[in-house]
């Protein structure tokens, strides 16, 4: 049924139906049909209504009256949905919690809705990362446009460097602003505002924009085709970014200068700007724990390569190296490192400092360094040769040299690492994997919840590292990592709020996370295999930031660059190319390994480092960590 028909035809008979259509007609044609929506609301009346409305918009609707059920649906079918609409007040789970989970695990755009229109709640929606907030009663016009969020998310995260990136971005932004302006209005205003927004969007801009629009309109009947090539914030790229930011100073860094410093062809200011924004948010969230923002950044960069496992004490250190890691994971690592001064083992540490220095340099020069920028590559690491670890360690040392680490903190992690069985790292990694959102951090502990989050979580890569594979690497590291070399303290924002849970409890977490990680690493690997091509390296970066695009396999549109990834991801069901895959660990990890051979090296190191860090952090009891509420976002200045 054609939406316009639905409108116009209504109750047939004689009457003119024109009055009913409240001006939303022009928008209807724009809606990409087939958008897969999951709507969650405990109110059956509203649920039925939404389902009907969404069907009228030609979307594919799945309705769900319980948040837990919705989450499990999403987890089971990671790429089965394009967007989630959820009520705020639900009996079994707070809508915001669901929002965070979805953001972390699946990185899907989530729209919140409620009869509650108080500004504080709306603000909460914004800070939790909702792409929109609808006030009940929701009108058709508002729903007709939700597909924009899917498109926008994909476009802003990905940008084709050679494409008219800036124009697109600008247009996108304008659009976004218009949209946001519109959506924040009351429901009744939506239709008119939306139209305005649409008109502006359509008529504004260059012909290029028009082309894009047309392209979207024509070509994309299927929502999944709306993907555009994007810029992948690969580990390497992110490292460069962080280096630039550090150089300028986190507070003073501006996109333009960062861009200049980075000197990456094809990268636009807009790419950097949006990335910076995410990075800042990430840092802020971590800000509560870490006070060494500047340091953290540094360590962030360099630390990544360093094997995580053994370098755990080098939290600050790792952070730098882990710049690629999702901010949260790093933060966690940091926190872990910082938090556990007692555990550090001395044996391994002293060596690392030296290594760090070297590694830092080597790190920079080696594009392969998987800066765990959200790359779960850790999974693969099993196969990584120990030799790589050295590199990382060196890097770590290098990093460390640059920053004063809290030795005490460092020591602990190291010690912890060494002593702990392999599985630990995973759990710890989990922590780091947490996406920028607070939730992610939390989840790290809980193990399951956090890991899947993939895309948002920077540390996705971390998690992989943590995986068991590095046991070997890990042990080696231990010796190499000098306790003293923890640039941890320095890593800004990496402060992990919650201490890492001890390994034992993470066994299961590890398992679960593994699944998630493998997928991540898988992505990372696949991307890496593409030679770090900006375009091709879609996956790794996404993990770092809420770039769900990667994980969304359904984005065939990303095919251009993602094809390799997609193939890999899409074909094997179990493979779960997305880090989001939760629980697919077994198959995916296996596959990932084979694919990511090349990356193993790096990852293994990283994983070791991660695990070491995590261990030290004291991946505390899952329960405590899991309690998200403790981690209030409010603490994080935004």
């Amino acid at each position: 049924m054609n939406p316009s028909d639905a409108r116009g035809v209504l109750r047939s008979a004689g009457g003119s139906s024109s009055g009913k259509n409240q001006g939303g007609e022009s928008v209807v044609e724009m809606s990409p049909s087939g958008l897969r929506v999951l709507v969650v609301d405990d109110d059956p009346t509203c649920l039925m209504l939404f389902e009907r409305m969404l069907r009228t918009c030609l979307y594919q609707v799945t309705k769900c009256n319980r948040a837990e059920l919705a989450l499990s649906l999403l987890r089971k079918n990671k790429h089965g949905f394009d967007i989630v609409i959820s009520d705020v007040h639900m009996p079994d789970m707070d809508g915001f919690k669901l929002l965070e989970h979805v953001g972390l695990e699946m990185d899907l755009p989530v729209i919140m809705m409620s009869a509650d229109d108080s500004k504080s709640v709306v603000l909460k929606g914004v800070t939790h990362g909702a792409v929109d907030y609808l006030i009940k009663p929701v009108r058709m016009e508002a729903l007709k446009n939700i597909w924009q969020h899917v498109v926008r998310k994909r476009r802003t995260e990905w940008n084709v460097p050679t494409h008219s990136g800036s124009v697109e971005e600008t247009g996108e932004r304008q659009q976004q602003q218009q949209r946001e302006g519109v959506s924040e209005d009351g429901g009744d205003d939506n239709s008119s505002s939306v139209n305005e927004g649409n008109n502006n969007w359509r008529s504004s801009g260059s012909s290029r924009k028009r082309k894009e629009e047309e392209g979207e309109e024509q070509g994309d009947d299927d929502a999944s085709n709306l993907k555009k090539p994007r810029v992948v914030w690969s580990v390497e790229l992110h490292q460069q970014f962080v280096a630039a930011v550090n150089q300028l100073g986190v507070e003073k860094a501006v996109p333009k200068k960062i861009l200049e410093l980075m000197n990456v062809p094809g990268l636009t200011r807009e790419n950097v700007a949006s990335h910076l924004q995410k990075y800042r948010i990430y840092l802020r969230r971590l800000g509560g724990v870490s006070q060494h923002q500047g340091n953290l950044n540094n360590s962030f960069m360099t630390g990544q390569d360093a094997s995580f496992g053994s370098l755990s004490p080098l939290n600050g250190f790792d952070l730098q190296a882990l710049s690629q890691l999702p901010a949260q994971s790093l933060a966690q690592l940091q926190a872990a490192g910082l938090g556990r001064p007692t555990m550090v083992s001395k044996s391994g540490l002293p060596g690392s400092s030296i290594v760090d220095e070297r590694s830092i340099f080597s790190f920079k020069t080696q594009p392969q360094m998987n800066l765990l920028h959200g790359v779960p590559t850790g999974m693969e690491p099993r196969q990584l040769p120990i030799g790589n670890r050295m590199t990382i360690q060196q890097q770590i040392a290098a990093v460390r040299a640059g920053h004063s680490l809290q030795n005490s903190g460092m020591r602990m992690p190291l010690a912890a690492q060494q002593q702990q069985p392999f599985p630990r790292p995973q759990s710890s990694i989990r922590q780091t994997l947490l996406p920028n959102r607070v939730v992610s951090e939390r989840s790290g502990f809980s193990g399951r919840s956090s890991i899947p989050e993939s895309s948002r979580v920077l540390p996705t890569s971390y998690t992989n590292l943590a995986t068991q594979q590095h046991s070997l690497a890990f042990s080696n590291f231990q010796q190499e990592l000098p306790v003293s070399s923890f640039p941890l303290a320095s890593a800004p924002g990496l402060s992990v709020r919650k201490p890492l849970v001890s390994s034992s409890s993470y066994q299961e977490e590890v398992n679960s996370s593994e699944a998630g990680f493998t997928s991540l690493s898988y992505d990372m690997f696949s991307s890496k295999q593409n030679d770090w091509d900006l375009r091709s390296v879609l996956s790794p970066h996404q993990e770092a930031y809420p770039s769900s695009s990667m994980s969304r396999n359904n984005n065939t549109a990303v095919a251009a660059t993602d094809h390799t990834r997609n193939h890999q991801q899409q074909t094997p069901q179990g493979m779960v190319s997305h880090h989001q895959v939760y629980g697919n660990g077994g198959s995916s990890s296996m596959k990932v390994k084979s694919e990511t051979m090349a990356f193993h090296e790096q990852y293994s190191n990283q994983e070791d480092l991660m695990s070491a860090l995590l261990k030290q952090e004291g991946i505390g009891p899952v329960d405590t960590e899991f309690d998200f509420d403790a981690y209030s976002l409010d603490d994080i200045p935004v």
Binding site: R7, V9, S12, A13, S16, K20, D43, M48, L49, T56
Partner: protein, 154 residues
């Protein structure tokens, strides 16, 4: 009465509900979602609303009758009722819920009792009116006629 008359009656009746504020434009949205492929959509949704609301009102009565009223339980109920009533266009019910919630926040038991009564009153009113409306529609359809599209000037 003949078909045309019935149709006119229905239109007038519906209009009056809007004019009285019992229903608002959201109800029109519902009507717009009904078509040949979903001929009973409005009555389905509204029926669901009635069932759910009956349950909520029941829970509310129980909660408010407790020795110690737990407003943490009362408020979500009222909130949901507010949401569902606004979604189907039961304007007066929604407004009554808004007032109710304010008193919940103030934890004013006495006022909440009054609010509950008010909500119930509005709810039974709209329920009654809508049931009448549906009956009229059924009569028309049974007579072989079509439900006239609403022509609203507002």
């Amino acid at each position: 009465m003949d078909l045309v008359q019935m149709q006119k009656s229905l239109q007038d009746y519906t209009k009056s509900l809007f004019l009285e504020g019992v229903l608002d434009s959201q109800f029109l949205q519902l009507q717009q979602l009904q078509d040949e492929s979903n001929p009973d959509f409005v009555s389905q949704v509204v029926t669901l609303f009635f069932q759910d609301s009956d349950r909520i009102l029941n829970d509310l009565s129980l909660s408010l009758d407790q020795q110690v009223v737990d407003f943490k339980k009362v408020d979500p109920h009222v909130h949901q009722l507010k949401g569902s009533s606004s979604s189907i266009g039961a304007q007066r019910v929604k407004n009554a819920c808004v007032v109710f919630r304010n008193f919940c926040e103030q934890q004013n038991v006495e006022a909440c009792h009054r609010c509950l009564q008010q909500v119930k009153q509005e709810y039974y009113l709209v329920k009654n009116r809508l049931e009448t409306l549906f009956k009229l529609e059924q009569q028309i359809v049974a007579s072989g006629g079509m439900i006239p599209a609403m022509e609203l000037g507002f």
